[in-house]
Amino acid sequence: MATARVVIVGAGPAGVRCAETLLAAGIKPILIDENRRDGGQIYRRQPEGFTRDYATLYGTEAAKAQALHQSFDRLRSAIDYRPDTLVWNLTPGQLCCVSQGRHSTVDYDALILCTGATDRLMPIEGWQLAGTYSLGGAQIALKNQAVSIGHRVVFMGSGPLLYLVASQYIKAGAEVAAVLDTSPLSLRIKALPKLLARPGLLFTGIKLLAQLYRAKVAVHLGIKPLQVMGDAANGVMGVRFSTGSGRVETVQADAVALGYHLRPETQLGDLAGCTMAFDHASSQWWLATDDAGRTSVKGVYAAGDGAKIRGADAAEHAGRLVALALLEDQQLPVDGALRDEQQQALGVMDQFRLGLAQAFPWPSEQAKALPDSAIVCRCEMISAGELRRTVNEKGACEVNRAKAFSRVGMGRCQGRYCSQAGAEVIAAAAGVQVQEVGRQRGQAPVKPLSMLIIEEVSS
């Protein structure tokens, strides 16, 4: 029997553990990654020449990060590893790749998408001002480049990352002006039973909060974001918000780190024709997969945050599990104990992530509350008012239709940072549930494609 050609896209925790598991079963996968180095986002490796140790870089996750990097270093020469390579398109059985301006194709029998996630954003008036960053971006600035995104930073949004990055900034000596969480304490208390599924993580969260209080950082819960203030010349100059009790306050700052947990990178799954399913807990569309990571398309699998947002630990387990599913589908022997172990771990993590979604919900109501003048699409500078007009005056009650009329989602980011919030604005204007307005169709290229691209001459 000819060995299946297996290609994994993404060298983060899911991709690495998947490759490791396949290798142990005698399969040599191709591992394609957009970045120059392995690790994905959360375990992003610092550039050569940087000296900070794992504890400084990854804090409580240091051991996991080191283990992952060491695992990758061990398997690197045993697999076909292609870094600095973007999969920009695909047709059934064939990936279109570009690396250093050269296009090439990679044939596959089985494709495992471990494409990860980006921050999930809800617009706020003024968020197009220079000095506004995503929470993940603020973290990368620190972890990967040892810089703070500003002299005085406000962290705003919701989710565990909010507290993690803020406290990492404090530890590194940056000035944190305030931590503003849209989620009230009451929701956290309600979610406690589910959060107790992973007591270690819950404890870490509490510790982070304590660190912030000790550093005398102003932490506000249950806030409503009102405006990122500033001007064209300076960019961000402050943040205006209303507290849980309705008092309007202003914090001076030259940088804002904004984010509401994560959204999956599903463009390749979309292009492969995979069915999407609406996840009610997090109110967003995910690739429809079975428990092991099989998508609706035979031979296409997905694992990690690119499939279900469950965090880095879950990604490692999902990476192993999807490899085992592939082995099973290839009629190869499967380590049942290993599979059970992953499934059990993921069961716990599923509970926890439901708790997170409850404790730190996606603030869909903010979309309705956005003033008409607030920008929804940063790339194209389209306001909430313009988007609402396409619903009300042109009857566009579906995301792709509204995109065609308003240009929301037509910019360089291809809807990554505007489309979900845009869907909420459309749904609110049309008076329907957000899942009824659909989602932005994924199109090629997956990222902007240079027009210098030339075809690789095959040797």
Partner: protein, 384 residues
């Protein structure tokens, strides 16, 4: 359920159907338009956006001229300019001997209104300094231009609705029958419609209905290959298209004031007619960027940020089906515009409305008659 009646039922809510609905209302005709998905979702909404007369089959220029007069008046007619810019259109060629062909076209009496001017060599490169050195000559149409196809059919449909047309989206025709003097239409949701006149503007699906009435046509479907760049400073006001016999070289581009450069051409893809989706083939994108680097040096600095395709209907002689049925009274067609229908849209609507309302049109459309596909015996009997 009660039957909804009108003077005209239109099946197909693309640009042709929407424009006809609008002009029918201007003539006082009642009209119901039935669209299976959303107005302008297919060929009308995904094409390149060329508002171009030059290069057309000479026998089509009368229709194109009539349409052009309407393009100029769009804000007054439908309260929307569709982002139309009369930017001028340049048809360029890479080979010296092709210039003579461009000259021959420019000299044709039908092309007189276009005010075409031929450029070559140094003069061309002085005026159009952004074009690559391989460009040898070109034909410049000063009044041609471009517009935003995504806006067109929906704008006409809204204007028609404001005038009292009944526009039904997400309404699929299940059955059409001629009963006596009227057409009886049933939709999949059980509604019934009736009219003395039926217009088929169902684009790539037009032939399904024409075949039912005994007039099959060899309609083929293709997916246009479109790409767009990120926005860059606006500096290219002219729409550029390549005149060539080599298919991969047939590239065209236009820059919009916001700065994006829209690119089309080269290859075509085969649409998935079952799911009504079409895709851009990777080889199309690679070909387009390569051709663009030749046509517009320096464009290599830019990034493609999106590609799209759609479903267009083509006839083998590259001419549409337009005009009355050859077999059934009260039945009319306007479909299969072979990827060049956008500029014709307003004109087609105006002409079809005239034809439906008065029984004749002043604009010659005989070359587009569906009867040209009838078997020879039938054609003879139709001619007599």
């Amino acid at each position: 359920m009660s039957v909804q009646k009108a003077d005209v039922v239109i099946v197909g809510g693309g640009l042709m159907g929407s424009a006809t609905a609008f002009f029918l209302r201007k003539r006082g005709q009642s009209v119901i338009l039935l669209e299976r998905d959303q107005i302008g979702q297919y060929a009308s909404g995904v094409n390149f956006g060329n508002v171009r007369r030059q290069g057309r089959f000479l026998g089509q220029l009368a229709l194109a001229n009539r349409s052009w007069a309407l393009w100029k008046r769009l804000p007054e007619l439908i309260d929307d300019d569709l982002e139309f810019i009369p930017s001028g259109h340049m048809r360029v060629c890479y080979r010296e001997d092709e210039i003579a062909e461009l000259e021959a076209y420019a000299a044709a009496p039908e092309a007189e209104q276009l005010d075409l001017k031929i450029y070559r060599g140094a003069e061309l490169h002085r005026r159009f300094g952004f074009l690559g050195p391989d460009v040898k000559g070109g034909s410049y149409a000063p009044h041609d231009g471009h517009a935003n196809p995504r806006l067109a059919a929906p704008a006409f449909a809204r204007a028609a609705r404001r005038l009292g047309a009944q526009i039904e989206e997400r309404t699929e025709v299940a059955e059409v029958q001629k009963v006596g003097a009227d057409f009886h239409i049933t939709t999949t949701d059980g509604r019934q419609f009736q009219a003395a006149q039926l217009l088929i503007t169902a684009g790539a699906w037009g032939q399904k209905l024409s075949a039912q009435f005994g007039e099959p046509v060899p309609l083929d479907t293709h997916g246009p290959q479109m790409a767009v760049t990120e926005p860059v400073p606006y500096a290219l006001p002219t729409v550029i298209g390549v005149y060539t016999k080599i298919p991969e070289e047939v590239i065209y581009f236009r820059q919009i004031p916001r700065g994006n450069i829209v690119i089309g051409g080269g290859y075509r893809s085969k649409p998935d007619m079952l799911n009504r989706r079409a895709y851009v083939e990777p080889r199309s994108i690679l070909n387009q960027v390569s051709q663009m680097r030749r046509l517009l040096p320096g464009v290599g600095n830019l990034n493609i940020i999106r590609v799209w395709s759609g479903i267009e209907g083509y006839l083998p002689d590259s001419l549409p089906v337009m005009g009355p049925s050859g077999t059934v009274d009260g039945l009319f067609y306007a479909f299969g515009f072979c990827g060049h229908g956008f500029q014709l849209g307003p004109g087609v609507g105006d002409v079809m409305a005239e034809l439906l309302a008065t029984g004749a049109t002043s604009t010659p459309i005989a070359p587009f008659s569906i009867t040209r596909f009838a078997p020879p015996a039938e054609q003879r009997s139709q001619a007599s």
